[in-house]
């Protein structure tokens, strides 16, 4: 079809976690500018399967930018060159005919590669399990959340922190390999709300402890995470986490 593109793809191929892996070149023709990036990879995989090759393994689920599964490092940027979008929301119209596109998995000590472009983001689950929740009885006598007054500004900030989909783009794009934007968003969403208060201090202490154990780097306020985050999570959350952690260490009991 007219307007379709020919692309040169350089994709990371790795058989298993223990395999060394390498970049491999592919030529792909007939790429419609209306395709999403993942659909383009689908077309490539279809071609590979027909040719008897192993298709490229990659994470994906909702394909509408809310599940946090897609996780490609495209041309040196998490989720590609566009801002505030996930890989599934990136369309091929953002590229030109004849372009060379690098596609790599998240690179982080905390995210071991499972296969090709798929990484194990269990580290984020374990950080969440260390404190990213509130303990609420659901015995039927629970207070209606809407009955608790919350200042509008706090509610807005908590909501915008809660939009974090835990995709890992922050840790993947951070030159230090730090996951603090994710952790700080999860700490903030509860620290700002009344429901988060009973576990406020142990939450931040435990989540930071788990984050360090997972092998992520240290934040030095470079700010790449904030730019690359598909949900535009603000660095203000990291400052809030720094405050929360400091206060929790000065006076650990509530």
């Amino acid at each position: 079809m007219e307007g379709n593109m020919n692309l040169k793809l350089k994709i990371w191929r790795q058989k298993s976690t223990s395999d060394k892996g390498a970049m491999k070149d592919y030529q792909l023709g007939g790429v419609s500018p209306d395709m999403s990036f993942l659909e383009m990879i689908d077309v490539l995989n279809d071609k590979l399967i027909r040719e008897g090759d192993d298709p490229v393994t990659f994470d994906h689920d909702c394909r509408e930018g809310i599940c946090g599964m897609c996780s490609m490092f495209i041309n040196g940027e998490a989720h590609g060159p566009n801002r505030g979008v996930t890989t599934c929301q990136l369309h091929m119209r953002s590229f030109k005919d004849g372009d060379t596109i690098y596609v790599e998995p998240w690179r982080s000590a905390g995210f071991p590669v499972i296969k090709d472009l798929m990484v194990d983001r269990g580290a984020f689950d374990r950080i969440q399990q260390a404190g990213g929740f509130i303990s609420v009885n659901t015995s039927g006598r629970t207070m209606d959340a809407n009955a608790i007054p919350v200042p509008k500004e706090d509610a807005d900030k908590a909501f915008s922190a809660a939009t974090c989909i835990g995709c890992g783009a922050c840790a993947a794009s951070c030159p230090n390999g730090s996951a603090m934007l994710f952790v700080s968003a999860k700490v903030s969403q509860f620290a700002l709300l009344p429901q988060g208060q009973p576990e406020r201090k142990e939450r931040v202490l435990n989540m930071v402890k788990q984050m360090d154990e997972e092998g992520f780097g240290n934040c030095s306020n470079i700010g790449a995470c904030e730019v690359q985050c598909p949900k535009n999570i603000s660095l203000e959350n990291i400052a809030r986490m720094n405050r929360e952690y400091l206060m929790a260490n000065i006076k650990p009991e509530n």
């Binding site: 040196g76 092998g215 306020n221």
Partner: protein, 230 residues
């Protein structure tokens, strides 16, 4: 703190910020005192200031704190640098860092090392000579109103006769400028002081400080080399 002085990633941030802000206050004092050379009175004001700084008990005690603070800043910085390298064992084949961050914010360890090299030269030129050995200048002492003062001004004139020394100092100041441009603002963020209300003010003060202080410092060897000050 629970996990020791350098334990968690966040505690390391606090140390970096606190020692950094302490070194910033040192820069301010050092710059203010040295700016006395611009009075251009043959070094009388500057030598008197230097005499006060060298003999005041409080200032001398702070000198020890300063060395400890500097060392903590260096050790903490190196720990962060090596831990962060370990956090990404496999490098990206292509990483477009410039689209999302500034080169100097990513190069704090490099800039810090350059500043350290400069400091070694700088301490050798002045600190070692005033505190341990003796000044190289012929008139080691000058008398103002019958009182004896070390002629540190004369030593500066002697040291800054050499073009290569002036170049090293200017390069040191340029490294300091880039280091401060990220470090000043970063310290406040690390201590949790980031809010839309005052973020802009911190950024303006930080940028102004990063430009003005290194510029004044750099002007000193240049002015002496060109003999604007004598």
């Amino acid at each position: 703190m629970a996990k020791g002085l350098f334990g968690s990633s966040l505690v390391k941030k606090y140390w970096m910020a606190l020692t950094g802000l302490f070194l910033i206050t040192f820069l301010l004092v050092h710059c203010a005192v040295n700016a006395a050379i611009f009075v251009n009175d043959g070094g009388e004001t500057f030598n008197k200031f230097a005499h006060f700084m060298g003999t005041n008990l409080l200032i001398r005690s702070m000198e020890i704190v300063l060395f400890v603070g500097l060392l903590a800043h260096i050790v903490d910085g190196l720990m962060l640098y090596f831990q962060n390298r370990k956090a990404r064992p496999t490098a990206y084949a292509k990483q477009n860092n410039n689209s999302s961050s500034t080169w100097y914010s990513r190069s704090m360890a490099l800039l810090g090392t350059l500043i350290l090299f400069f400091l070694i030269v700088h301490l050798g030129n002045f600190w070692v000579k005033t505190r341990i050995t003796e000044l190289s200048v012929i008139d080691q002492h000058l008398y103002y109103d019958g009182e004896k003062y070390e002629n540190l001004f004369g030593e500066m004139q002697l040291v800054f006769k050499e073009l290569w020394v002036v170049i090293v100092y200017v390069l040191g100041c340029i490294s300091l400028f880039w280091h401060l441009l990220h470090g000043f603002k970063s310290a406040f963020q690390s201590l949790g002081l980031n809010h839309s209300k005052y973020k802009g003010t911190i950024a303006i003060i930080g940028d102004a400080f990063s430009v003005i202080i290194p510029a004044i410092f750099a002007a000193m060897p240049i002015a002496m080399y060109l003999e604007w000050i004598a």
